[in-house]
């Protein structure tokens, strides 16, 4: 299978990878490349760098997807200004919208979103990002407004966090947790006795005041949480469709992220998620046909300075050649791991960070061209 078909025939591409490998940049390059092919694309990301947001001309923390300005698209060679939208997700914003959608009245929604504990929980860094990314993805998939949605998974240490995030949240939102704080639903004598023990434990663990705050919070949100929980599991389920979805894993040549990449692919297979590609980013494996510096660089009679400059350059050349060989071997390992269902592509290191439009377009071209 070749990446072009993977990148153009799907409705959703999920870009995963451990922290610092250039996942957001790769996801953006894919989104741009698909828009250049005439697809209507949405780029979804959580917490992009300031510079990437500037390149796309889109503010962070907006309430909904926003078209990338026409001049930016023109710079990328896209003349139709409706082709690319971007949304830098804010977990708090997504959670608020969710509450508004499922609350019984605008008044209730207002009361709920002003709850002190809710405001904390919905804006926390871990877990919620994964959930909100899934929730947003699921919503847009159902709406069918875009040909392709490229999801850049939230930043985390391990690529796998995205796959576990919704499960973790689902266990948080599990009904049993409510029984801790809503003892009124327990009727039998034994249960009531157990309820008293739990009450003592809770009061000791949280303190009486925080405990009663938590009770209030859980009783107010129980209905919303059940709904969220349902969406989280449906969201993960919908990503299993191999016709519509492709998972891509971005790695750097560093050992840590390579090992993570292997685990990620295996976990996808285990969870029945369509794994479709490895991207070896910032690697020398993509280097095209470099040659050693010529022996007669400075002509037949080099000066002493020139002679020593050349011999030092030769030493660097040897180091670099060894590094290229090492990165190519890594690429080979990824190819072997990818098997027949998935592609493997190497992207070059761009020292200035690849977050400008020219670099993004160039990386997108490499991704699209590879294997043709």
């Amino acid at each position: 299978m070749i990446p072009e078909r993977v990148l153009l025939d799907r409705q959703v591409i999920v870009c995963a990878g451990s922290g610092g490998v250039g996942k957001t940049t790769t996801a953006t390059a894919v989104a741009l490349a698909a828009a250049r092919e005439g697809k209507r694309v949405l780029a979804l990301t959580v917490d992009p760098s300031r510079r990437l947001a500037q390149t796309l001309g889109v503010s962070r923390n907006l309430l909904k997807p926003t078209p990338v300005p026409a001049d930016r698209l023109a710079a990328a060679g896209i003349s139709d200004p409706t082709l690319l939208e971007a949304w830098m997700l804010d977990p708090g914003v997504v959670a608020d919208q969710f509450v508004h959608r499922f609350a019984e009245s605008p008044d209730e929604a207002k009361r709920l979103t002003e709850n002190r504990i809710y405001r904390q929980v919905s804006r926390m860094i871990a877990g919620m990002q994964e959930y909100t990314a899934m929730e947003a993805l699921y919503t847009f998939m159902r709406e069918g407004r875009y040909d392709l949605i490229v999801l850049d998974t939230p930043p985390s240490r391990h690529a796998l966090d995205f796959l576990y995030g919704p499960k973790r949240l689902a266990s948080f939102l599990d009904g049993r947790i409510f029984s801790l704080f809503l003892p009124g639903e327990q009727q039998s004598l034994i249960r009531r006795a157990a309820g008293r023990v739990i009450h003592r434990v809770n009061a000791a663990v949280f303190g009486e005041e925080a405990y009663s705050d938590l009770q209030e919070f859980f009783s107010a949100f129980s209905r919303i949480f059940v709904r969220m929980n349902k969406n989280a599991s449906q969201g993960l389920e919908s990503l299993k469709d191999p016709e519509k979805v492709a998972f891509m894993l971005v790695t750097s040549p560093a050992t840590e992220s390579m090992t993570d990449a292997f685990f990620f692919r295996r976990k996808c297979v285990e969870l029945d998620l369509p794994f479709r590609g490895f991207v070896l980013n910032r690697s020398l494996a993509a280097v095209d046909a470099r040659t050693p510096p010529p022996a007669d660089l400075f002509g037949p009679t080099p000066s002493p300075v020139e002679r020593s400059a050349r011999s030092k350059l030769m030493a660097l050349a040897e180091l670099e050649q060894a590094a290229v060989a090492r990165h190519r071997a890594l690429l080979g390992e990824l190819e072997a791991e990818a098997g027949a269902d998935a592609f493997t592509v190497a992207l070059p290191m761009i020292p200035t960070g690849a977050e400008d439009m020219t670099s993004l377009v160039r990386l997108g071209e490499v991704l699209m061209r590879h294997g043709r």
């Binding site: 922290g19 610092g20 490998v21 917490d47 904390q120 929980v121 926390m124 860094i125 871990a126 877990g127 919620m128 930043p155 985390s156 240490r157 391990h158 576990y164 973790r168 949240l169 266990s171 948080f172 049993r176 947790i177 801790l180 023990v197 739990i198 434990v201 000791a204 663990v205 949280f206 303190g207 009486e208 005041e209 925080a210 705050d213 050992t255 840590e256 992220s257 685990f263 470099r290 040659t291 050693p292 510096p293 010529p294 000066s303 300075v305 020139e306 020593s308 400059a309 030092k312 350059l313 030769m314 660097l316 050349a317 040897e318 180091l319 670099e320 020292p351 200035t352 960070g353 977050e355």
Partner: protein, 302 residues
């Protein structure tokens, strides 16, 4: 960097791929060589089969109780659940209630999956290990080195106190957070050390991270710039090669990188007053790399 071995806690942080784990292990070795009793820590992640830090010491993972790794160094993984259990023992007057709490699936689930409560468990485990004493009353571990997870989660942990206190301004959890405050916020006891690379983007991210840490009141003890490229060329040699800088030859990329790295480093020096320590790039891997970095860090702390 010079006072790092006088502290109780070193929080090692930085973006992925900058060599944070290598620096953590190297710092542990440098401290142990000075005769300190070191505890090397990382944060446990569910479903983790191995960790790169444990691998440096020939293990797949660390256990939840300190284990001797090599002379002077113990290793341990911080688990939310271990911290919760310790916390239950502290706040619940009778062991039957501790048992009830640990046996309550719902309570455990709440604490494990609600983000701040998970971090609270990690924090308590950390706090408990630091409070342990020898029979003589001295701390069991003089220096705890914590290999922090990626930046976002680092801020999740250092901002924990503020966040949980706004959620629950008083009560048993607030008490513990206040007691352990110094381990995250007192510059005499603790320092965050940000690991970065001599490149434009990592330097920008490093400065952003320092800003975030300072906002949370976490003292930043130093910056470790890892993999600094030595420039082998004299200015005359560089001038002789300059006309060929864009040639597609092996070695030229490195030739061009050195000045870029130097500029990035210069910018870092201009932008912060935090002490900077540079670790030269060495063509080594695994334990040999850790040793080389340890030597460099020991030098910087002298």
């Amino acid at each position: 960097m010079h006072d790092i071995f006088g502290k109780r806690v070193a929080l090692i942080t930085g973006k992925g791929g900058v060599g944070r784990t290598t620096v953590s292990a190297a710092l542990a070795r440098a401290a142990a060589r000075r005769g300190l009793r070191v505890l090397l820590l990382e944060i446990g992640e569910p479903d983790g089969d191995y960790t790169p830090l444990a691998r440096i010491f020939g293990r797949e993972t660390f256990p939840a109780e300190p284990v001797a790794l090599e002379p002077g160094i113990h290793g341990c993984v911080l688990w939310a659940s271990a911290g919760h259990e310790g916390f239950f023992r502290r706040v619940l007057p009778v062991s039957a209630l501790v048992k009830a709490a640990m046996g309550s699936g719902a309570l455990r689930r709440l604490l494990d999956s609600a983000p701040s409560f998970r971090e609270m468990g990690v924090f308590y485990h950390f706090f408990d290990l630091l409070e342990r004493k020898r029979p003589s009353g001295e701390p069991l571990f003089e220096l705890a080195i914590l290999d922090m997870p990626a930046s976002g989660h680092t801020l999740g942990l250092t901002g924990l106190r503020e966040r949980l206190l706004s959620l629950m301004p008083s009560g048993p959890i607030a008490d513990v957070l206040n007691e352990g405050k110094g381990y995250f916020h007192d510059p005499a006891l603790t320092g965050a050390y940000v690991v970065t690379l001599p490149e434009i983007l990592p330097i920008t991210e490093c400065l952003e991270l320092i800003e975030g840490l300072e906002q949370h009141g976490t003292p930043v003890g130093g910056i470790v710039v890892n993999r600094v490229l030595p420039d082998p060329f004299t200015p005359q040699e560089r001038a002789a090669l300059e006309p060929y800088a864009q040639e597609p030859w092996y070695g030229m990329e490195r030739f061009r990188q050195v000045p870029t790295a130097a500029r990035a480093l210069e910018r870092l020096r201009q932008s912060t007053t935090v002490p900077i320590h540079e670790v030269r790039e060495v063509p080594l891997q695994g334990r040999a790399l850790v040793d080389a970095v340890a030597e460099s860090l020991a030098e910087g702390a002298r």
